[in-house]
């Protein structure tokens, strides 16, 4: 199965060393965006080239890899990246959050608690939280350096003035260890509380933008807000139709063209484990979700 023409995990050792240096620097300065010489990967930008490079630099032959896309193990992006590392590194793969040592993710943090020794790798499209407020990159770097984050608050102010509440629901800006404002990649703000005080190492890779940043274990991460408009985690108020979970992040699924819909866990591994343990939801139409179960 393993392709022998490539070095272990596709990238050559010098490149991995360079990426590891950037990762180490990122871990040393939580939330700081470290530039790195991003490589062309055999996949298009936007498919997780940054995350793949970080994963490749972290992988060891004994690792067990899990790849998720929007919480699911079985969508195109997750399947192809998992297959990529199966072929180029020959590592064991899993869909179980608990068994994995490295988890590459797009847009979600798994529902199950992460443990020490695990690495969570995020795919990041735009690492700069100030990008759409201040287009000049040298200026945003200076603002980070001098901790001038009034502008980030301007974005939240605009949300409230226009919508009556902070309408940012994903890529919700956070303050890391009371120093750097960071874009947590487009995870739903529902996941933001899980960034803080996490036992696992969290690494963020942006391939096109050539940036790596990190949150080391047990780091304080606070979602930005106003005193009179505090951060709210949000949620649908529904429970999962399949496993009945009320505390997980749910996807809304349209089931027919007559307006029927149902809510299911976005984290498929979490949902399957609950169903295997005997949890039953209020029910789904016959046949729904059976191929996944």
């Amino acid at each position: 199965m393993t392709v022998t023409d490539y070095n272990f995990a596709y990238l050559d050792e010098r490149t991995k060393k360079m990426i590891r240096r950037a990762i180490l620097k990122g871990v040393a300065i939580p939330g700081y965006q470290v530039p790195f010489a991003s490589r062309e990967m055999p996949m298009p930008y936007g498919w997780g080239t940054g995350g793949v490079q970080v994963t490749a630099a972290c992988l060891e032959p004994t690792d067990t890899l899990k790849v998720i896309d929007q919480g699911a193990d079985d969508t195109t992006n997750a399947v192809s990246i998992r297959k990529f590392f199966e072929r180029t590194a020959g590592v064991a793969v899993t869909t179980s959050t608990e068994e994995a040592t490295i988890i590459q993710t797009r847009h979600r943090i798994p529902e199950a608690d992460l443990s020490e020794g695990q690495i969570l790798v995020y795919q990041v499209p735009i690492p700069e939280p100030l990008r759409f407020l201040e287009p000049r990159e040298p200026e945003t770097r200076r603002m980070h350096a001098l901790e001038e984050y009034g502008l980030m608050q301007v974005k939240l102010y605009e949300d409230i003035s226009r919508h009556g509440h902070i309408a940012t629901t994903y890529a919700y800006p956070v303050m890391v260890e009371d120093r750097y404002v960071m874009d947590p990649s487009p995870i739903p703000k529902f996941d933001n509380p899980k960034l803080s005080d996490c036992a696992a190492i969290q690494l963020f890779g942006a391939g096109r933008e050539q940036r790596i940043y990190a949150i080391p274990p047990y780091t304080t991460v606070v979602s930005l807000d106003f005193e009179d408009h505090p951060f709210e985690r949000g949620g649908t108020g529904h429970c999962c139709a399949l496993c009945g979970a009320r505390d997980s992040y749910l996807d809304e699924v349209i089931t027919d063209d007559a307006g029927s819909r149902l809510f299911v866990c976005s984290d498929t591994a979490f949902c399957e484990a609950r169903r295997a343990a005997g949890h039953v939801g209020p029910g789904a139409p016959a046949g729904f979700g059976e191929d996944a179960a």
Partner: protein, 265 residues
């Protein structure tokens, strides 16, 4: 009475500029410029295009680094040489005790966000984190610069040129600075809008006890606004004095030319 006491209590100038020189390669931007600015005073800097007015202002604002000279500022933290400040200190000064009003409001505003956010940005940069209070203060300031507070959620692009300039002034004054630097504040506005803006600036400067440095080529502007005048030519100060004195009895040949060049209707 209290005003007179306040004047008596002032012993030190707010700003003391000495020997300020900025060269562009072999050419002179401004050279050996020296003046004092006292608390509550408005100083006009006049001169023709290319006389070094804007270079001087940009040196004071920290946008250009002069080769020689000192700019001693006496503010909340005692007397400091602004030119010797580190960048974080200087930027903090520029968003708390100083303010810079650009000639073109588009340089001084964020056009992508609402008027309220434009005014509120300086407050949020100063650490305000209460939405209700920020909005209230922003609405209050819009009213003070004669912008209808119901337009608080509109973007500056929806405003006329005069309104944009007033919005820029509100955005700069909201944190209660001591010193305002203005670069041609009425440039590009038609005369009736100019008159209203000047009236507004004059009122705000008097009410808030601001000190200001106003750079302009328009002598009518300084006649209305400035207590004292500095006339620049080829990067040097050629004459300075009380506004009325300089304009009514110009001593230097260049000032005489400048005053006599004003068109009369």
């Amino acid at each position: 009475m209290s005003g007179a006491l306040a004047v008596l209590a002032v012993e030190e100038p707010l700003l003391e500029v000495t020997g300020l020189t900025k060269r562009y390669g072999g050419r002179i931007g401004c050279t050996d410029v020296a003046f004092d600015l006292w608390p509550g005073e408005v100083l006009g800097i006049v001169g023709e295009s290319g006389s070094g007015k804007t270079t001087l202002l940009r040196c004071l604002a920290g946008e250009l680094a002069p080769e020689e000279g000192r700019v001693d500022y006496t503010g909340g933290a005692g007397t400091v040489d602004v030119l010797a400040m580190t960048e974080p200190e200087r930027r903090r000064l520029m968003r708390t005790e100083w303010a810079l009003v650009h000639q073109n409001p588009r340089d001084g505003l964020r056009l992508g966000v609402s008027a309220g956010a434009n005014v509120g940005e300086r407050l949020m940069a100063a650490g305000w984190r209460h939405y209700g209070r920020i909005r209230e203060t922003a609405a209050d300031w819009l009213g003070r610069v004669e912008i209808d507070p119901t337009r608080i959620d509109e973007r500056p692009t929806a405003f006329s040129g005069g309104m944009q300039q007033r919005l820029q002034i509100a955005r700069n004054l909201v944190t209660g600075p001591r010193l305002v630097l203005m670069d041609e504040p009425t440039g590009g506005l038609d005369v009736s809008v100019q008159a209203r803006l000047l009236d507004l600036i004059r009122g705000l400067v008097r009410d808030l006890g601001l000190s200001a440095i106003v750079v302009t080529h328009d002598l009518a502007v300084v006649r209305l606004l400035a207590d004292r005048l500095v006339v620049m030519k080829e990067g040097r100060i050629v004459e300075s004095g009380l506004t009325d004195q300089v304009l009514d009895d110009p001593q230097h040949a260049y000032t005489q030319l400048l005053v006599s060049s004003v068109l009369r209707v």
